[in-house]
Structure formats: structure tokens, C-alpha cells
């Protein structure tokens, strides 16, 4: 226990420092974009992790919330000339409300039924995007501006740091939630809903709350996505994207706060590397999930942790006989 805490004291600033340094060395727009996407996936993934990893509810509708954030930002900035931060606040509010709405089904449904309802939600939202004049129909919305930075639009490097700031905020909020009394109640619900009720946890309230909070994460990610990419269309928010979100969360490690970073970076890079395979990517994700769950049930991060522990015990075993020789 203490061992992991100590290593966290070193690893957290180290990782944060590394993340802060990386953009300085990327040097071209393509790499900036991969970095930004990895950051955006981390945000959305840590929201999904709260929902799926810590309370055990599966949402196939998160691409819809991601879409809400993106469309609100696109329309707000382009058509109404609103500043970026105001669009983010609007996205947060709207996604919270819609998250409550979709979350209310989770009080009555679980497992496969919840999957069906949330998939349906995603499909309906996507169809609205495709058919509504206001959202630019299937053509989408081009020409979304970048946020202003002291009077001029942000460049890619500055945008990297904007995303990074949101990543830190998302992870910090997740950390605080998970390590609070509420977080313990979340995990208690996941472990055993009846027992959680019996000790007085208002399970329905928390199910709603965590759904809404994780929807907010997705909404913020969507806002960052729209402003970065400059052009959005409904294809970026289909239920396939929801599958991708779940893939990286599971891949990184459910219920592991660092997991979503690893998952996001791996999936972000994989998506670029496998771009030419197009729709076959989904097949690969399916295979990946199965393989990961068989060999590393706690995800890549869980695998890394057990590897680290094994190394530690190996080192300490080597050291002990050496000490004895000295004596």
C-alpha cells in the first residue's frame, strides 16, 4: 500500500512534467493534433471511467454528449460569435441536464437493457444532427474558429496547453471524487447495490449524478474537439464512437484513474496508425478488448502495475542475499 503511494508521489509530477514538455518538441501540426486528440480522449475516458469503472454502468450514448459539446461550441462560436469559454459553460450545463435525463433510465434498467437504451439515445441524437438544418445536416459545420488568446486566435501549441489544462482539471476532479465519501459510495454501488442501499446510500441519486458528471466530461471534450478540428459532421458522433470510448477505458483499466490516460494515448495513436483501414478499425477494437480482458483483466494500467510489483519484489529478493554477504 505504502509502496504505491510513495511511487505515486514521484510518478504524478513526473508524468505531468513530461506531458507539459512534450508539446514543445512536437514541431508540426500533425503531431500537435495527435497530442490534442489524446488529451481529448483522456478527458472523455476519465468521465467514462467514473461511470463504468467506478459505478459499473455502461453507457453506449457518450458520443452523443461528445456531440452536444461539439455542436454547441460550433454553433455558438460561429453563428453567435460567443467566446469559447462561454460555449464550454453552455456545453457543461446542457450535458449535465441531458446526462440526468439519460441517467434516469439507469435507475430502472441495468446491463443489456441499459446498453440498448443508451445506444438508441445515441442513434436518435445522431439522426437529429444528420437531418436538422440548424446543425448543418449531414454536411456538418465548417469554419469553427479557435479560441482567442489575448486578441489573436490560439495557435496549435497554445491549444495543446489549453487541452492539457482541461486534462489536469478532469483528472483532479476524478481523483477528488473517487477518494471522497461519495467515491466510496460509488464503488460500493458497483460492488453490491443491495448492500449499498442497506447502509443508506441513495443509489438512484448517485446513479443520476455520476451519469450527469460523466456526460459533462464528454461535453467538454466535444467542445475542445470542435474548436481544434474546425469542422464537425455527424459521423464523428455515431454510436461507433461510443464503442471507441468504451474500448479505451477498458483498455486502459477500469477503475484505475491513470488507466484512461494510457488507454487514450494508445487508442489515439492506434487510430492514426490504422487510419487506412477505415471501418476495419472497429473489428480490431473488438479483438483488442477480448485479448486485454483475457490476459490483463485490469487493463494495460493493471498490467503495468503488476509488472512493477513483480520487478520490485525481484529487486528486493536480489538485494537481501547481498546484504547477508556483507554481514
Amino acid at each position: 500500500m505504502k509502496n504505491t503511494n510513495n511511487s505515486a508521489k514521484v510518478l504524478v509530477p513526473l508524468t505531468a512534467g513530461l506531458a507539459l514538455m512534450v508539446p514543445l518538441f512536437l514541431g508540426n501540426n500533425y503531431y500537435y493534433d495527435i497530442f490534442i486528440m489524446a488529451g481529448i480522449y483522456t478527458i472523455i475516458g476519465s468521465g467514462m471511467n467514473l461511470l463504468l469503472g467506478f459505478t459499473g454502468q455502461l453507457s453506449m450514448g457518450h458520443a452523443a454528449f461528445y456531440g452536444f459539446g461539439a455542436y454547441i461550441t460550433a454553433i455558438g462560436m460561429k453563428s453567435y460569435g460567443l467566446p469559447f469559454w462561454l460555449c464550454v459553460i453552455l456545453a457543461v450545463g446542457f450535458c449535465f441536464a441531458m446526462g440526468m435525463l439519460l441517467g434516469s433510465t439507469s435507475c430502472k434498467l441495468s446491463g443489456i437493457f441499459l446498453v440498448v437504451v443508451t445506444t438508441g439515445f445515441n442513434t436518435v441524437v445522431n439522426l437529429i444532427m444528420v437531418n436538422w438544418e440548424f446543425t448543418g445536416r449531414s454536411f456538418g459545420i465548417p469554419g469553427i474558429p479557435k479560441p482567442d488568446w489575448f486578441g489573436s486566435p490560439m495557435n496549435k501549441l497554445q491549444y495543446c496547453y489549453l487541452v492539457l489544462a482541461f486534462v489536469f482539471l478532469a483528472l483532479f476532479v476524478s481523483y477528488r471524487v473517487v477518494h471522497s465519501k461519495t467515491g466510496r459510495a460509488f464503488q460500493a454501488m458497483r460492488d453490491n447495490a443491495i448492500a449499498a442501499r442497506s447502509v443508506g446510500v441513495n443509489v438512484n441519486k448517485y446513479k443520476l449524478l455520476v451519469f450527469a458528471v460523466s456526460a459533462v466530461y464528454a461535453g467538454v471534450a466535444g467542445a475542445l474537439y470542435a474548436s481544434n478540428i474546425g469542422y464537425i459532421s455527424p459521423t464523428s458522433f455515431t454510436s461507433n464512437v461510443s464503442v471507441t470510448i468504451i474500448t479505451m477505458t477498458v483498455l486502459g483499466g477500469l477503475g484505475d484513474l491513470c488507466g484512461c490516460i494510457v488507454g487514450a494515448v494508445v487508442v489515439g495513436v492506434l487510430m492514426e496508425a490504422l487510419r487506412e483501414f477505415g471501418d476495419y478499425q472497429l473489428t480490431l477494437y473488438g479483438v483488442l478488448i477480448v485479448v486485454i480482458l483475457i490476459f490483463m483483466p485490469k487493463g494495460l494500467m493493471g498490467g503495468l502495475r503488476s509488472l512493477y510489483r513483480r520487478l520490485c519484489s525481484l529487486v528486493s529478493r536480489r538485494r537481501t542475499p547481498a546484504k547477508q554477504e556483507e554481514v
Binding site: 500500500m1 460500493a188 458497483r190 449499498a196 447502509v199 443508506g200
Partner: protein, 235 residues
Amino acid sequence: MEHVLSVEQVSAAYGSIRALKEVSLHVDRGECVAIIGANGAGKSTLMKVISGLLPASSGTIRYEGSDITKWPTHKIVAAGIAQVPEGRQVFSELSVLDNLKMGAYQRKDDIQPEIDTAFQTFPILEKRMHQMAGSLSGGEQQMLAMSRALMSKPKLLLLDEPSMGLSPLLVKTVFDTVRRLHESGLSIVLVEQNARMALSVADRLYVLATGQIELEGNAEELQQDPRVRDIYLGI
């Protein structure tokens, strides 16, 4: 004498199956009441209805004078009714200590004295403090489930089959604890299949069969009752 809990004409159903048919019972302050009956008699259903996990289809449940029939479980827990659900429902992926903390979920004051009490009562839990609850043995999980329920400082404790699946020695430990809690003045409702054990700690007894109260009375009297002896004690 004032009843801590009174169940009046309560019925409950799972879909079209009526599990409880107009059951009435009461618990006085400081009393230990046992409910015995065969499988499927409705014992656990009764517990769920009292704790608000299952809505009653008709009837009234009163606790310290207020009608709690329609209250949600978290409000009932806050009012002072703690429950040990059937089958050792611990939070298997939380540590033993976190399980205890969850028991005091609704409290805002210092919970350390109750944690100490739990560790004094069951020293094995202190040894396993940082272990995940799922890795405990069945008996240890039962001790944890009981300790967790007591963390809320309840006025009324509902125990659903605490002896289920335990070795005879552990059954004795568990019932010794129940007896001690009873002596300390806690009101207890104890659901059991192990009628002999139940009779040994309870003041009064209700016999439940096919969702109805078949017999009720003092534990000592019922021990002599031929029907109880035949069916539930097997003497």
C-alpha cells in the same frame, strides 16, 4: 409498552406472487424478536419490506410512532434501522476498513469509537483491515456485515439469517454477539432457519408459513409447543 416497530397488516408481492399476506407483528424497546419459518415462507421478504428495499402493497409499518411504509431505504437507515442483508452482502472490492466506513455512511460525527468496538468484538477484522472484503472467509464476511450494520449506531437491528452457511462454531460466535447486543439494550429482529439458535436468544418468536403468521408467543412457551417442536426443532 411502546413498540419500537410495528408492522400492521402488511402484504407484499413479487409481480403476481403474493409473498406476504397481511402480516402483523411488533417489537418492543430492547426486545429481541425472532422470525422463523421454512424456505419461501416470506422471512426475507418481510425484512426487505421493513427496510424499504421492497415496497409493501398494503398495510402500514410504524417505527417509533412515524409511518415509514413509503420511506426510501436511506431515510429509514438515517432514522436508526440498520440491516444485515441475507447472504453476507459485503462490498467485495473495498477493504474491510472501507466496508466499516460505508456502514457509517450517513454519520457526520467521529466514527473511530465504533471502529474500535468492531475490532474489539471481532479481532480478526483488525488483522484483515486492509484486505479486500471479498478475500475473507464466509464467517469473516458475516462478522464484517454485522459490524458494518452496527457502525450506523442503530436503534433497531434487522438480521437476516446470520447463521447461513456458517460452521457450528461460527454460528455460536455470531449468536453470542447477538446475545451481547441484546443485553446492551438494542432492539433486534432476527430472521432464522436455525430455530434452536433463534429460540436461545429471542424473547419472543413469530412463526411464518406461506406468507402468514402461523404462531406467535414467548420463546420459552413456544419451545414447548408441539407444533414448533415437531416441525422446526425436529425433536
